[in-house]
Symmetry: C2
Subunit: 278 residues, 2 copies
């Protein structure tokens, strides 16, 4: 055990992060380490307490997990080494098979509440919503109380905490998916054909500055799969841009791209190349 | 009173949204209407229950307010008619001038807690954080309890709810600002020189698709001030893009731009032109 790879994920047991961690480490004999915050995972990898970590980056309904982008921008010596996509089905869980009409409060992570917003408005218009630090923490709260409460959490959390599944699928969009990054300390050099690369950069506030960056991709026929802006934090209206694109830093075209980007950006940081998830 | 303009804002009294609403309606004799959610404001304007509304769109530390972009994308007949920028200073408020060491719990809106994250970690490492629906709701909770609790809220909320200011400025970044949109039902035609216009669009998943859109702006020397992507919700990896740029739909160059954009996007929606905030 002592020498196995330690992989951090956002606990407690039963979160979608744990599902992503299992998916990423399948058959590898790694040790999964429950962490209590996303900062703890990132700082754990940077300091060497963890070898790798799993962090959520975007959900198909609710969008980016801003803090993860901020942590990636603010940490040195971190590399993205994988992506994992997990279908996210939120179930309504309670201590016993009570009618949903009797439920007085629904607990979950703010992202899960947002992903089930229309369902709750329509089917449980009378309940209060209460935000928790994770879907599993919501399941724990409901399991430990004798109140007529329910949690929105993965169905698998029902078995872990002894709860009943009242509604198997409560999310508003059936194709609800969350994308996770696997992070480590070393950038991979991948020659596989189906890779993605992530980077971040800043540009001057001048007409066409972002256009000139995207032009470098278009000239090389490199497909962007995502662009995300985050505030630079020092001033409203200044941003850091995050790009994901198809290709690897082992490709000569990508190396040429990066050389050119470094000339037209105010700063540029490669976050790593990784095999694209199916 | 009956015939005056009704302007909705996110209550309760004492929120930064109320400060933005006062700033926007100054000297106009409009009636301010406290709303309990951002959906209520947007739906109120669409249905005609409200004439106008104030909604937060981005903060210089925490980034976009995703739900507002989703509401703008999903609502017909809405127009952005103004922007308001409010300096956001979070104060630590309590019922009496107690030592911060005695505080056991801090309440606030998740955005405010995030904007004061480093302050809390450093100065109140022992406290639990609890999320509330608004900064003012946090102030109410603290005012009504006899527990050693504190709220992160505007200093002005202290007077409203009879609280003491323990720490005047608790946010991690001193230039913390929030940008609000004023929304109404009619698009303005503005000929002033310092305008912004907002629009949203979708593109095909093909190399260079976003580049071709930005190219139309660069060709005309039109400066983008913001680009934001939101999930299209039906599938992971599909996005709606929101752009803000300098110029008005009354400018011939912008009209020409919009005609060209409508040919190279899968859909395009103008959200309105408005005077740029200082």
């Amino acid at each position: 055990m002592g020498s196995s790879i330690c992989l951090g994920y956002l606990g407690p047991k039963g979160t979608f992060s744990e599902i992503a961690a299992h998916k990423y480490s399948q058959g590898k004999g790694w040790q999964l380490v429950e962490c209590s915050s996303l900062e703890d995972i990132v700082n754990g990898v940077v300091s060497g307490m963890l070898d790798k970590g799993i962090v959520p980056v975007e959900n198909s309904t609710e969008g980016s997990v801003g803090i993860v982008y901020d942590l990636l921008a603010g940490s040195c010596d971190l590399a993205i080494e994988g992506e994992i996509i997990v279908p996210v089905v939120h179930s309504l869980l309670a201590r016993s098979k009570i009618s949903t009409k009797r439920i007085e409060k629904v607990f979950s992570h703010p992202q899960a509440l947002a992903q089930c917003r229309n369902f709750l408005r329509k089917n449980l218009p009378h309940v209060c919503w209460q935000e928790c630090t994770s879907t599993a923490a919501a399941a724990v709260l409901v399991a430990e109380s004798e109140q007529p409460w329910a949690a929105l959490a993965p169905a698998s959390a029902a078995a872990v905490y002894g709860l009943e599944v009242l509604i198997p699928q409560a999310n508003d969009y059936p194709n609800n998916m969350t994308r996770f990054f696997a992070i480590g300390r070393e950038q991979l050099s991948l020659t596989s054909t189906h890779c993605k690369t992530s980077l971040l950069f800043g540009v001057c506030d001048r007409p066409g500055a972002l256009y000139l960056v995207l032009r470098e991709f278009a000239l090389r026929g490199i497909n962007l799969t995502r662009i995300e802006s985050r505030p630079a934090k020092n001033k409203l209206g200044e941003y850091i841009f995050f790009l994901d694109f198809l290709g690897s830093t082992a490709d000569p075209a990508v190396q040429d791209l990066v050389r050119n980007l470094s000339k037209i950006t105010t700063y540029l940081k490669l976050l790593g190349s990784y095999p694209a998830a199916e």
